[in-house]
């Protein structure tokens, strides 16, 4: 047996027990999930877990769009599940006309927004997505949480990829710097915050993009399992504190060339 217990001293929250495998699990501290009381979450009253692994996503017979997600796009067949990739991967294509865009947001209804990061709430939130782009030029992309109804035309601005004026938090790529993933958040009506280039987009490599809200005042990001040195305060005016949000995937082309984002999984946990 190679299973062992791992105690993680979670910043501001005390010790957390995780069961890990000596061979298969990330090293101690090298995962946002080492902070998460996942064993306790087997009791649904402790919190709620959104986990989409894209293994058998329900889709409409005609449009082939996901039936549990809101969709915004302009062409059929912009959402596929490539056979050449293991573990369940969704691919969103922008289509190949300049400014074509495709967005999907969890929740069939545009009113679904089950997650909120509220300053000093004692309700931690954990997020991680495994993702990659297949292109590295003139594109906009976003993966993270955004307010309900964000999956709509123009969520990413034409030619720049700048995020529309919505509550959101996550990771994005801008047209002007398409080889860089940024961490970003915004409260509706406030200026957008961006920590530029938290990891490179090379058009091929998978990256794990995560963040963790401790339930008090601080959000920490995990890039490929590594804790980023920069922290973010949820009581900042620019932070979308108290705003209800839902997982979203977005891609947009800035030229007449197809752009593609692939997502292996999205997992979001909130403590009740």
């Amino acid at each position: 047996m190679k299973t062992k217990s791992l105690w993680t001293q979670v910043p501001n929250c005390g010790p957390n027990l995780t069961l890990i495998d000596r061979d298969y699990s990330p090293a101690a501290g090298a995962s946002v999930w080492h902070n998460c009381p996942q064993l306790a979450l087997l009791d649904p009253y402790v919190g709620w877990t959104f986990f989409e692994d894209f293994l058998d996503m329900p889709c409409d017979d005609t449009t082939h769009n996901p039936t549990a997600w809101s969709y915004s796009g302009i062409h059929p067949s912009q959402i596929t599940f490539p056979i050449s990739l293991l573990s369940g991967v969704i691919q969103l294509d922008s289509a190949n006309t300049d400014l074509d865009e495709t967005y999907i947001q969890a929740g069939h209804s545009v009113t679904v927004a089950p997650f909120v990061i509220t300053d000093a709430s004692l309700n931690p939130v954990f997020f991680e997505a495994r993702v990659r782009m297949l292109e590295i030029a003139d594109l906009g992309a976003f993966i993270g949480l955004a307010e309900e109804g964000s999956a709509a035309a123009g969520f990413l601005t034409d030619a720049t990829g700048v995020l529309v004026n919505k509550d959101l938090i996550g990771f994005n790529i801008l047209n002007a710097s398409p080889t860089a993933w940024n961490f970003t958040y915004k409260a509706l009506g406030q200026v957008v915050y961006t920590q530029a280039n938290v990891v490179a987009n090379d058009g091929a490599t998978w990256v794990r993009l995560g963040f963790y809200f401790d339930g008090l005042h601080t959000v920490r990001t995990y890039i490929n399992g590594v804790l980023n040195a920069t922290t973010h305060l949820t009581n900042a005016a620019t932070f979308p504190t108290g705003e209800e949000m839902s997982p979203i995937i977005a891609v947009k082309t800035g030229e007449g060339v197809l752009k593609r984002i692939q997502v292996d999984y999205i997992k979001v946990v909130q403590i009740r």
């Binding site: 005390g14 064993l39 087997l42 009791d43 709620w48 329900p58 069939h108 089950p114 997650f115």
Partner: protein, 261 residues
């Protein structure tokens, strides 16, 4: 063994899940788990109704008998009767087909069963509600009787509200053809959230957990009125009573049902 979080988990004994071998259930041969948190429920792209649940409603197609309100965190299904007419009703039962009924409690079977849902009635006037397990095909017109909300002659176990006592949540079970058993007023319906659970120990006894607290009354699965050995599926039901006036709504945060194989 249960792993609990010192800050976030219910106190020791204050959860039906403290009885459940949830770690062992990571092996699917141990049992099966139904867990619907309504975070991202697959719905028909045209009518917007859940595709994984059977539906019965008086609402016109596309009228939204189940919606997902933005103002509720954690994924909440809002099931409504829709119209204001007397005896309007909406029912959902897990399983696209009316033959789906994956759970049962068999006396002395050694197959324990665990149930919990978090639910809120949005009104407490002239409405009837049921949340629990019911036999396959129970999701049909008049599962709740006109004007009184009495549950149809089906196999079922769960929690209900009757028209005559809309401020009281009751525990109830029935074996089809037998008289209904009811424990009146296990919780007050003040249009607030409640956690309703029960636990069958695999031998002869069902115990209730109301808002995490063990209820003193127990029920024998060997009783003639208990739906022992009857296959059932999770169900949500709401009906407007004799006093018409507005739509009646029940909100469900989650359903979790576990059965040991």
């Amino acid at each position: 063994m249960v792993f609990a979080d010192r800050d976030y988990s219910p106190y020791t004994g204050a959860s039906v899940w403290h009885n459940c071998p949830q770690i062992a259930l990571l092996d699917p041969t141990v049992g099966w788990i139904f867990y619907e948190d309504f975070l991202a429920l697959p719905c028909d792209v045209t009518l917007h109704d859940p595709t994984g649940w059977t539906m019965q409603t008086d609402i016109a197609p596309g009228g939204g008998p189940m919606t997902f309100p933005v103002s509720f965190l954690g994924g909440v299904a809002s099931v409504t009767t829709g119209g204001a007419a007397d005896n309007d009703e909406t029912y959902f039962q897990a399983g696209h087909s009316k033959t789906v009924a994956p759970f049962w409690m068999v006396d002395a079977s050694a197959r324990a069963l665990f149930f919990e849902c978090r639910v809120m009635a949005a009104q407490h006037l002239s409405n009837s509600i049921f949340v629990g397990l019911a036999e396959e095909g129970a999701c049909a017109a008049n599962f709740l009787s006109n004007d009184d909300g009495v549950i149809a002659d089906k196999d079922f176990i769960g929690f209900n509200i009757l028209d005559a006592t809309p401020a009281a949540w009751n525990y109830t079970h029935r074996l089809s053809g037998q008289v209904v058993v009811t424990q009146v007023g296990v919780a007050v319906n003040a249009d607030d959230w409640h956690r309703f659970g029960f636990y069958f120990d695999g031998l002869h006894t069902v115990r209730l957990y109301i808002d995490g607290a063990l209820n003193a009354t127990t029920y024998l699965t060997s009783a003639a009125t208990f739906p022992a050995g009857q296959e059932m599926s999770p169900m949500i039901a709401v009906k407007t009573g004799a006093v018409a006036g507005n739509a009646k709504i029940v909100k469900v945060d989650y359903f979790k049902v576990v059965q040991i194989r």
